[in-house]
Amino acid sequence: MEAMKQYPDPSRIREELVQKYPAKVAKKRTKSIVINDPESIPEVQANVRTVPGIITQRGCSYAGCKGVVLGPTRDIVNIVHGPIGCSFYAWLTRRNQTRPETPEHENYITYCFSTDMQEENVVFGGEKKLKQAIQEAYDLFHPKSIAIFSTCPVGLIGDDVHAASKEMREKLGDCNVFGFSCEGYRGVSQSAGHHIANNGVFKHMVGRNNEVKEGKFKLNLLGEYNIGGDAFEIERIFEKCGITLVASFSGNSTVGQLENSHTADLNVIMCHRSINYMGEMMETKYGIPWMKVNFVGAESTAKSLRKIAEYFDDAELKARVEEVIAEEMPKVKAIIDEIRPRTEGKTAMLFVGGSRAHHYQDLFTELGMTTVAAGYEFAHRDDYEGRHVLPNIKIDADSKNIEELKVTADPELYQPRKTEAELEALKEKGLEINGYEGMMKQMMKKSLVIDDVSHYESEKLIEIYKPDIFCAGIKEKYVVQKMGVPLKQLHSYDYGGPYTGFVGATNFYRDIDRMVNNPVWKLIKAPWEKAGNGKGTELEAAYVTQ
């Protein structure tokens, strides 16, 4: 709390942030900028439209659907139905790594597929070209699955990607073809696309293969997309603990894993925003409880493993988890002890994603650093304030258009993994069963929480707080660095990582140490600028020998 004292009163800062906006915009933005109090969490306006003309970090629904959720599964052929750009920009740019079983196994992630819609397709409809494209993809690759993604013009011209997919699925016979209406204008950000993707994966993939695999402690890892190899590290830890991973949604995943995922006994959720729908739907249909975890941060990883062991309530597993923690932690501690003296007391700001701005605070805490301001790019109120606010969230016109699947218990496959009483008991023990407390509870009093921060606000924040590090994405990276402040990309990790688990934590410590202490930041001014450039500078020459 000490650190906060150096800054002006946060309500003054808030005023300053919106000062330049036209009155209406200022009024709207003020509701998305709140001063935190973890004891009595204030309401944050979130998941609302960005004001036109504001330079925002946000992307679109298609990016959330294709880019985030479906992109990482390596053996689906993802065809983007629309003009070329949308598909081009999502081509390999998200860094979701994958490791096929053998060099011969399928992997289409390196490919970019598009129907490259032309003017005549916009005028006369593009369904024919789409079906042709599906046929060509099938003839070339014979994939198990083909997914179709609609981009902006598709919805407007009335192409029915679902009907086209169904027709092709029936025609091809051995290829599961399905479509997504994830046009970029749906919703207010990527978030709409996550929801649409969850619905599609749930409808068309989950539950297609009932074979129950070996394994005593079986779970799915939800909302982990294997950026920079994050899922690999979690897989390593699970294996060491004797936990069986049925499927990841969707880092390093395959169609087969997703289709079989309903045979797991627990869903653990990393990124709540992008995948909580899946957790809920699987609970209702199959009786699998879900639990919020966080593998970002060494302490958080240990905590999450203990929660999983607690859930399965097995003495052997609990013992094994403790062994693994005891084995891994000393290596982590040794590195923290070396680095922490150099990072202690420094400050960070995080404006990114739907969960990372929360998770990464744990790593900064481990480094002795303070988060002075944070916010999400496309989250909802529950990600800030906790899921208990869900009943109070107003459904506006933009969210109303996104389908809510009507899910009921499966007559054959529904099988509650725990009784109500057992679940209650677990909650008592502090497990976030079917719940999430959100980011704000963990943040300091008087820190700033800002949803959908604008470019203008970020620059102002940097001027006022002069943080030691700023975390955001590629669009912000060089702007912030031009201001002399290092920016850590938390979408692409600046092409580093993994940052999850024990190994990941140490990678992150090293990277942050490097960034905040890099001598290069001190070299920005030229010597003549420091010396007043020519003014009053007589040559200070001296003879070597007197």
Binding site: Y21, P22, I84, G85, Y185, D398, Y456, E459
Partner: protein, 459 residues
């Protein structure tokens, strides 16, 4: 193998594009607008397009790329985007205070049928455009053409909406830059200065997308063609358009509006194209070519003769954009190399015709542009007739790795190396750099793969 599913056998495709050798119009429009001083590009559509374009340009330049968006939601898509654009204009002038907003459309606003001319006129009538400030526009639907078309459309918009003729000709020449790097634009300015010719270069992204680190973020960096310069372009003696696809349309627009005659020359990449550029510029300005430029040329040709053995007969595959591919292919031929496979996703008969002419010297060369001319096809061709060198944007590295072929990054986007913003590919010096790069990868390969007894000290 990263592209393990690409079969050798080529089958005709009509519906599916795989690994495109192009992207969409608005990104080109955004890039062109960044070359105007004090200009904020604005994407009229939903947020995603703008976010993708900014991200891609940022990855290519490792620089701030500022642009705003109309942030369409479903309502706007149904009722039209006028309200969104009007609000954008108001917000942008209040918050970001540019001199110019350069609006481009997207697939979405084009499909809806938003009329940018009418909306900007309304903004002006409603008093939403402050005194002395401008809102210009270009229509850039991505279901037509490619990113190159978008660049050309925005550039044409800039020329037509700013240039004025006062009736009095100025002793200056317009150089309309096709899509090239800030480093290339800087080099064009240096060459013109060397020749003693006063030019108006537009757009000009030097000192915008290669801005120095000063510890301050300058929202509108010092570079970019100024409004004054653009206005005066209508009084210039003539225009040189560098590239028939990306630059010529603006020259035509300028000629139509202000009667400024123009000549289209190739982008000066390689020896012959640079020769033609220097000839045209010296003729247009009525100046002699100074010895220093002749010496620059001499240095290039000197290296070409000294190292000819390493180029001669080597087969090359390339992909990219028309205005670069035309002179580059010609340059490779001048070096004695054999460009055997070429694709560009950008359509156009002019391009096709030029390439066919140039490629007459290589019977059997594969060339395709436009629809389904993609990197998947190029890769298949390469499996059927292997090459010694691949030239193209960063996405080529997947092919290069699978096929174990030396690879040079050239074009857009380059996401994994630096240099393109700082060191030109145009002019004699730029061509020398290209040669250096080609030699570098070819010789590195020879060094890596030579049997021990054939490992050479001197090359």
């Amino acid at each position: 193998m990263l592209l393990r599913h690409t079969p050798k056998e080529v089958k005709e495709r009509e519906g599916l594009t795989i690994n495109p050798a192009k992207t969409c119009q608005p990104i080109g429009a955004m890039y062109a607008a960044l070359g105007i001083h004090g200009c904020l590009p604005h994407s009229h559509g939903s947020q995603g397009c703008c976010s993708y374009h900014r991200s891609t340009l940022t990855r290519h330049y490792k620089e701030p790329v500022m642009a705003a968006t109309s942030s369409f939601t479903e309502g706007a898509s149904v009722f039209g985007g006028q309200a969104n654009l009007l609000q954008s204009i108001e917000t942008i002038f209040a918050v970001y205070d540019p001199d110019i907003i350069a609006v481009h459309s997207t697939c979405l606003s084009e499909t809806i049928g938003d009329d940018l001319q009418q909306i900007t006129k309304k903004a002006s009538d409603d008093g939403k455009i402050p005194e002395g400030k401008y809102v210009i526009y270009a229509s850039t639907p991505s279901f037509v053409g490619s990113h190159v078309t978008g660049y050309a459309n925005m550039l044409t918009g800039i020329a037509e909406q700013f240039a004025q003729s006062t009736g009095e000709k100025k002793d200056q020449i317009n150089i309309i830059a096709g899509w090239m790097e800030p480093s290339d634009m800087r080099e064009i300015k240096r060459l013109s200065k060397e020749l003693g010719v006063k030019i108006v270069l537009f757009p000009d992204t030097s000192d915008v997308l290669d801005a120095p680190q000063t510890g301050k973020h300058v929202f509108y960096p010092k570079g970019g063609t100024t409004v004054e310069e653009l206005k005066s372009a209508g009084d210039s003696k003539c225009s040189l358009a560098l590239g028939c696809i990306s630059a010529e349309p603006a020259a035509i627009g300028l000629d139509k509006k202000c009667r400024v005659p123009f000549e289209t020359v190739d982008m000066p990449i390689g020896l012959s194209a640079t020769d033609r550029f220097i000839m045209s510029l010296s003729k247009a300005a009525g100046v002699e070519v100074p010895d220093e430029i002749t010496a620059e040329r001499g240095r290039l040709i000197d290296v070409m003769t000294d190292m000819e053995q390493y180029f001669y007969g080597k087969k090359v595959a390339l992909f990219g954009d028309p205005d670069q591919l035309i002179p580059l292919t010609e340059f490779l031929l001048d070096l004695g190399m054999k460009p055997v496979h070429i694709v560009s996703g950008t359509p156009g008969m002019r391009f096709e015709k030029r390439m066919k002419e140039i490629l007459q010297r290589i019977p059997g060369a594969n060339f395709k542009n436009g629809l389904n001319a993609d990197m998947f096809l190029l890769h298949q061709w390469m499996k059927n007739e292997p090459v010694d060198l691949l030239i193209g944007n960063t996405y080529g590295k997947y092919i290069a790795r699978d096929e174990n072929i030396p690879f040079i990054r050239f074009g857009f986007p380059i996401l994994d190396r630096i240099g393109h913003s700082y060191f030109p590919n145009v002019g004699y010096t730029g061509s020398l750099r290209l040669i250096e790069k080609i030699l570098g990868v070819l010789m590195d390969r020879q060094d890596r793969e030579a049997p021990e007894e054939k490992f050479e000290l001197v090359m």
